[in-house]
Symmetry: C2
Subunit: 311 residues, 2 copies
Amino acid sequence: MPRTIVVAAAQLGPIARHEGRAPVVARMVELLREAKARGVGFVTFPEMALTTFFPRWHIEDPAEVLSYFETAMPGPETQPLFDAARAFGIGFYLGYCEMIPGRTGAHHLGYNTAILVDPTGTIVGKYRKVHVPGNATPDASLKLQHLEPWYFDDGNLGFPTFETMGGKLGMLICNDRRWPESWRMLGLQGAELVCLGYNSPSLLPDNPKQNALRKMHHLLPMQSAAYQNGLWIVATAKAGLEGGCHMMGHSCVIAPSGEVVALSATDGDELLTYKIDLDATQEYKRFFDFATYRRPAAYGLITRPHSEGQP
Amino acid sequence: MPRTIVVAAAQLGPIARHEGRAPVVARMVELLREAKARGVGFVTFPEMALTTFFPRWHIEDPAEVLSYFETAMPGPETQPLFDAARAFGIGFYLGYCEMIPGRTGAHHLGYNTAILVDPTGTIVGKYRKVHVPGNATPDASLKLQHLEPWYFDDGNLGFPTFETMGGKLGMLICNDRRWPESWRMLGLQGAELVCLGYNSPSLLPDNPKQNALRKMHHLLPMQSAAYQNGLWIVATAKAGLEGGCHMMGHSCVIAPSGEVVALSATDGDELLTYKIDLDATQEYKRFFDFATYRRPAAYGLITRPHSEGQP
């Protein structure tokens, strides 16, 4: 397969709390149609792309919580997405909430998951978010809750990479981007393109000092990681005013140089495209030459367990 | 001790190949004198601050190579620096070449080292550069050689931290700044301020595509590391046209937010000062809350040895 590919961040605007899958999937199919017209071979959709970002609320009704999880992928409501991708010959990354069979109740129902689908519509990889941010239990004193650890288990698939789309691809989800270990795990396996979807509030009402730095803190760790690991990044937002909370856009493509080479300009549905050369990663992989220059024996604390007293 | 301190990057302009210690130490004492007048409590000098950056040459004369190494610290020529620091009540970081007793010949004579000296003139910490960049053997085909692994052994002290100056300090040297593991090792020990000296060419004649990105690649990994580990960074250049090679300046202070809050404007001797609050690190250390949110069990490849096939 060719080593040059047009990639796209298929940013989504807000999704209402009780909207249901059908209109969202229709919007995603429309973005795939535009992608086809613009020569795109691979599309990255956001984290939790099929529904509103419900962990901003403490929801006590088990039926509503369950409604945000997928029990099958594809399922009847998501099949049109796979059909469109196959018809257009476009691969994609999709973030969604993955139900764990047998779980019941109004919390801890599953994983915050992403899959990689190739241009034949076949699921070729799965990742479950390792760095699940926020509060493990509801805290009504916060202006904006972030209850991912209340609803989700930690990911248990490690940081896998997949040979597809003519290269080696990895997946991360949202908060994973702030941890250098996420990227290093993928870099050490030779990842050339990492896809990442996110739902990040533009403002933090409980920590307003951070507000002016939100965009910087979104981009900075990814730019550094792209450079330090010699890989391309496509990062895609769910953006805009959703459930009373404005979510940042700033979907982007980052080059192995660390440069932001494409950046979304809206907070709605938007297809951001960029032609990448997977071989452009080689310059940086050669520069850092892990086998020659890394010193794993000096990094012991990084994998020392919390149980041994390591924070 | 107070948690607020005025720190300085004491950038040095070029040092000639056969200049000797005395004029360099006199320039450093002058910078300490200015530091005293500007209320500075702690000064960071560059990597290899006492001599020219000799690894840019393949030097075959053992006597000349030996002349770049210190056999005692302080020695007769560096004692005035310690005396001045004590007289002014200023602590400092100093980079120099540390001779290994008994080594002979024209290469592999010692370590690329930095020490931490407290305001009483007492050495309270030592670090030996772990990530030694460049070529292990001379290669006359290169326009600009970089022979650190030819002259230096790998550092063997790990990434220690030191309680001094009212906080917890760490040291890194030059190329260490490009590796996220260096910072993480210090961050996991609670470092609040990391000092780093460097000698980095402004241009890479053997890889000119990189030239326009040199400043970005200098700052980006440090900004990201400051944010991801919640620590202050003072990074100090040996700058200017030295031995036919222009060395970048861009000495800087980076806040725990990742913002570059001070940046040198010259490529000569320059004292860049900034008042830091060591407690400003807490906001970011709390945000990342390593004990709650890191997942060491998922990071195994990062410490997997090369001998087990890990690049």
